[in-house]
Subunit: 231 residues, 2 copies
Amino acid sequence: MSKSARKPNKPVKTRPGRTGLSRPRLIDEALELLQESGLAGLSTRRLAERLKVQSPALYWHVRGKDELLQLVADAICAQMVLPAKARSPRERLEAIAHEYRRVLTAYRDAPRLFAEQPPVGPNRIKLYDAAVGALLDEGFPAADAIAMATFYRHYLLGMIIEEVRDQQPGHIEAPFSAFALGVELTRLGKAASEFPNLAGAADLLTHMSPKKLFAMGLKVLLDGLQAHLNP
Amino acid sequence: MSKSARKPNKPVKTRPGRTGLSRPRLIDEALELLQESGLAGLSTRRLAERLKVQSPALYWHVRGKDELLQLVADAICAQMVLPAKARSPRERLEAIAHEYRRVLTAYRDAPRLFAEQPPVGPNRIKLYDAAVGALLDEGFPAADAIAMATFYRHYLLGMIIEEVRDQQPGHIEAPFSAFALGVELTRLGKAASEFPNLAGAADLLTHMSPKKLFAMGLKVLLDGLQAHLNP
DNA sequence: ACCTGAACACCGTTCAAGT
DNA sequence: ACCTGAACACCGTTCAAGT
């Protein structure tokens, strides 16, 4: 994947002034840059530098940075293995969810990338289509299936964003991680008595694994869908 | 709120070199700038210009841009009216959700701001505490209540983000709006047959109001929570 | 067709210096 | 204590010009 089409030892000089730039190479290198430097480090200029090209060169292959990011997101999405249609709808929805989580946690800042960029591109649409398909097979009327697929997506994305945020070293400000919540509560100082329900929260959060949390949330969502189906 | 502490006609010259800058004034003006120019337009330099101050001056009152954004988010959060504890837990959760939606849709780019910045600050924590409180009263064990509150938050945020994205004029790329999905499907061209389940989706999405969608998603979530409580 | 050079209009932040 | 001036190290993008 990331080790594709690199220049061989003897550079294939197609023509003078030609650098062998291409959309796939852009995407490939952008993915590596994302892994190394995160979303903030993925700038057009740094990407150009990596490709040994002046940054305006990118704009011949890509409309702008947003399109580049959408292409990167779609490339990440391409790695998800969608479940076979033979399996039950609920199993499919679960499988999609876990694939989503698996792939998005594998790439640095991928959850944020997916949340920021609109779901554009064949692979992201394909994923959406798969979710809608499962919901249709579950028995939802078409309009509901589409709505539910949207909920489903946001739910997953939100949970994965939070899970990943906690993993970032130094990024302990998010008070939904055990440690950070404690920090924030003490930072807010004596007013902490205003938050009676969060008193023991910090401790409790320590004992929950992200994977279990994710599975728990998924179950809540799927049960909610089921309830909507059989009122 | 936004019309507070502005300089009167006769500027109160406290001391030479003193500009009357303060944290509340920063937050106030930042909120207005956000309304006018959106999240991308809310830069430290533009904010300084509005306050008739050199941009480094801000750094005496605020640690950096992130802290500023967190303060802004917390100020927005302060406008939410939390439900009385007398009401039933489910009613409270519904009320919180609708307040969340009401306030976040009132401020430009507020949903994105809330998603990007970690939930730090007294008002955001208070909101979190209120949700956890309702869930505890509903009968959840403490650990579950905290987990559920996290799901709840992400769910709401995700749905509101998508709803607002569609409202932005020109920002029609998100294929979860009726129009944009149609655009994207045709953009992907002949491969559209790969997405059998999305065929009529564009039309269906047209007939769903954001408010109804939001309420529907909320019901799904709350039903899911209920199912978790009574298995 | 594909890329460079130069430029434009921005960013967030630091830090010595002023008052 | 509170702010300015100057500077640093960046951004994304446009556009004429080159090959």
